[in-house]
């Protein structure tokens, strides 16, 4: 026996939009500016040496989240369209059968 499933296609499409917005929001963050400011505050110090390259590391971490949210957003959008398409095709199929002999 197959597992049960239930889907609100409109809600799934809305989820896709929200996740895309979340990805965009993370994408606008600029941690590198803060690291650059910290570097400039103590030129030639051990702290500056320790911070060197950190902005790249943080950017990589944030980018990974942007990509992850983006992937989930696209998956939700594709799934919503696929569910809607399947629903429509199934409904059409029943309509043909009814109209047949």
């Amino acid at each position: 026996m197959s597992e049960g499933m239930e889907v609100d296609v409109a809600a799934l499409a809305a989820l896709a939009g929200d996740l895309a917005a979340g990805a965009a929001a993370v994408g606008t963050l600029a941690p590198a500016e803060s690291v650059t400011a910290a570097l400039a505050a103590l030129p030639g110090s051990d702290v500056a040496a320790a911070l060197d390259g950190l902005s790249d590391g943080v950017a990589v971490a944030y980018r990974a989240s942007v990509d992850g949210l983006g992937v989930m957003s696209r998956a939700a959008a594709i799934d919503a369209a696929a569910y809607a398409g399947t629903e429509h095709a199934t409904a059409t199929g029943f309509g043909v059968l009814e109209g047949g002999n």
Binding site: E3, G4, M5, E6, V7, D8, A11, L12, L15, D18, L19, G22, A25, V26, L29, A30, P31, E33, S34, V35, A37, A38, A40, A41, L42, P43, G44, S45, D46, V47, A49, A50, L51, D52, G53, L54, G57, V58, V60, A61, Y62, A64, S65, G68, L69, M72, A75, A76, D79
Partner: protein, 611 residues
């Protein structure tokens, strides 16, 4: 890396603090975005079920976990920068101030690297006058130079500590740390569990330098309080932990305040009260940490212990270099001593004692011998607060009556003594100093044996936990007692006989008078000590005598006693009275109808000296 003065002038710790705040805000927004996305996915459960829905929720949870790891790492970096700014600001200001004062003093030259030199006096007058003036300028330059080098060392240490903390945060991101060396391919060896100081010393000595650096950078909490590890390394480790804890707590308080401001909760709501309570607790701990930070900011100090003991902080600070000093003293204070209120004051007293000891050593012709003085507050001395009568009685009965705090403290103090010897190849002259309840703790510690202590001074002592000096394990003539005029606590004999009446002790004078001539120099007038708390006050006779013991100069000691009321009572009746009051409670306790074996607490009024 010590900065040049030119570099130091270009530094802007306030800008560093601003960058830390900006990074925190950006990071908080990042974490909130990812968390909001995860909540949004989880919320689809009500209208999306099945295999695909389960997969989406699992994927979202993974993304959130990864983001939380990254956010925690960045938060650690931001906290490190915040703490670094707080440390570097005052240190920079101090160093630049010293440099400015040197440059304004008799035309001294201050180089870009911070060295202070005297100008050459032109030979325009009598040779002797020119030579004397040059010598005077050279001495001025030397004094300023020492101060400035010390101040620059403090700046350098704060810079290095902050860099270590930043690298720790970065390492949690999983990246390659610049300047931090390659990650060790094997896990770092941890110290032995419940190891003796000797075992701890062997552990540390067996590590390679790279491994030690890795422990100091990545696991400073392993060795900061580990007896047997050299003081220099304990100091580095504890300063790293101190900076991190200050940064974390500061950030936590900010987060809680923002949460309170943005929550919309009423000020009287239970949730709001909980948040305020957490803010209060964090602020109290931060105040203790700030007190430690201020105490060790002075050049030439070592943070040997920094211990989170639950509801309070415990610490020990040395003035001088414990790793190399010929003479080391360890001072354990008594009731009501705590890090928040007293560490700075005790460290100052330790510094004054060190100076007095070195002064006497100089005049007896042993000026090449060095001294380090430790203020040790690594135990919970009973805290008697007259405004908290219930807490006071509980503490008094549980701690003073049972001596529990002294017993627990004694184990830790004995290990600390032993660790000083285990961490060094040579054997320094070690003096134990105990005041009031701290003298009881010190006496009990010495009775553990094998401490390496050479001399002990008990002052204002209500008893040292034994009636027999021989139990302390010190040679004859190496146990000293000081009892000031009007010190009622010193006559209590609550934890053993009154020490100044014990056989085999040397009584140190505490009254005003002139010290003996020394090295051809005439003696100096010193004030007397009154009551319970003036034994280490600067320029007192008791301080002079204690310094003579610390410096291993028994010939300079001036003996004397100040007979208190209890001292005039014959020993046997006094012992009997002590047993009845502080023994099994069958005496006065029985008269008051108290249950058997409840001992009476020491009246708080007696702790404040004479009426």
């Amino acid at each position: 890396m010590r900065p040049t003065l030119t570099q130091l002038r270009s530094w802007d710790p306030d800008a560093l603090a601003g960058a830390a705040t900006q990074l925190s805000a950006c990071n908080a927004a990042y974490a909130d975005c990812v968390a909001a996305g995860d909540r949004r996915v989880a919320g689809t459960r009500e209208h999306w079920t099945g295999v695909a829905a389960d997969a989406a929720i699992a994927r979202s949870a993974r993304e959130r976990a990864v983001a939380e790891t990254a956010a925690t790492a960045v938060s650690t970096v931001a906290a490190a920068l915040r703490a670094g700014a707080a440390a570097l600001g005052p240190a920079r200001t101090l160093a630049l101030g010293i440099a400015a004062a040197a440059a304004a003093d008799h035309g001294l030259h201050v180089d870009a690297d911070g060295r202070v030199r005297a100008p050459r006096v032109p030979p325009l007058g009598p040779f002797v006058a020119v030579a004397l003036l040059q010598a005077r300028l050279d001495e001025l330059a030397r004094v300023h130079d020492v101060r400035l080098q010390g101040a620059l060392d403090v700046v350098s240490a704060a810079d290095a500590t902050t860099a270590v903390a930043v690298r720790r945060g970065w390492a949690a991101l999983g990246g390659d740390v610049p300047g931090g060396g390659a990650k060790p391919s094997e896990p770092l060896p941890a110290p032995p569990v419940d190891g003796t100081p000797d075992a701890n010393s062997r552990y540390w000595n067996q590590l390679s330098q790279d491994q030690r650096d890795a422990v100091l950078a990545g696991r400073p909490e392993w060795i900061g309080n580990l007896d047997g590890v050299p003081a220099h390394d304990r100091d580095r480790a504890n300063r790293t932990v101190l900076a991190e804890q200050r940064g974390v707590l500061g950030g936590r308080i900010e987060e809680l305040r923002v949460r309170l401001d943005n929550s919309g909760l009423g000020p009287m709501s239970p949730e709001s009260s909980l948040v305020r309570k957490e803010i209060g607790a964090a602020a109290q701990r931060l105040a203790e940490l700030d007190a430690v930070d201020r105490t060790v900011a002075d050049p030439g100090r070592q943070l040997l212990v920094l211990r989170n003991a639950g509801d309070h902080l415990q610490a020990a600070v040395a003035v001088g270099d414990v790793d190399t000093a010929d003479h080391v003293s360890v001072f354990a204070p008594g009731v009501n001593s705590n890090v928040g209120d007293g560490l700075a004051e005790f460290a100052t007293a330790a510094g004054e004692l060190k100076f007095e000891t070195e002064r006497q050593l100089h005049f007896v012709g042993r000026g090449n011998e060095t001294v380090a003085a430790v203020a040790w507050l690594d135990y919970r001395a009973p805290q008697l607060d007259p405004s908290d009568p219930v807490g006071t009685v509980t503490d008094a009965i549980g701690d003073l009556g049972g001596g529990q705090a002294a017993e627990v403290g004694a184990d830790r103090l004995a290990s600390f003594y032993e660790g000083l010897g285990a961490s060094r190849a040579d054997d320094p002259h070690l003096t134990a100093l105990g005041h009031s309840y701290g003298s009881t703790t010190t006496g009990l510690a010495l009775q553990r044996g094998g401490t390496g202590v050479d001399d002990a001074v008990f002052f204002g002592s209500p008893g040292i936990g034994t009636d027999d000096v021989g139990d302390l394990g010190l040679g004859p003539g190496h146990v000293y007692v000081a009892e000031a005029h009007g010190d009622l606590v010193a006559d209590l004999a609550a934890f053993g006989d009154d020490p100044n009446r014990m056989d085999g002790v040397v009584n140190l004078s505490t009254t005003a008078g002139t010290t003996p001539a020394i090295g051809g120099m005439p003696g100096e007038m010193r004030s007397g000590s009154e009551g319970h708390s003036q034994y280490l006050d600067d320029k007192t006779f008791s301080q002079y005598n204690i310094a003579a013991v610390v410096g291993g100069m028994p010939g300079q000691i001036v003996e004397g006693t100040d007979t208190g009321l209890a001292d005039r009572v014959p020993g046997a009746p006094l012992r009997d009275l002590r047993e009845r009051v502080f023994g099994d409670g069958s005496g006065l306790g029985g008269l008051f109808g108290l249950p058997g074996r409840i001992r009476l607490p020491m009246p708080t009024g007696l702790l404040r000296g004479p009426f």
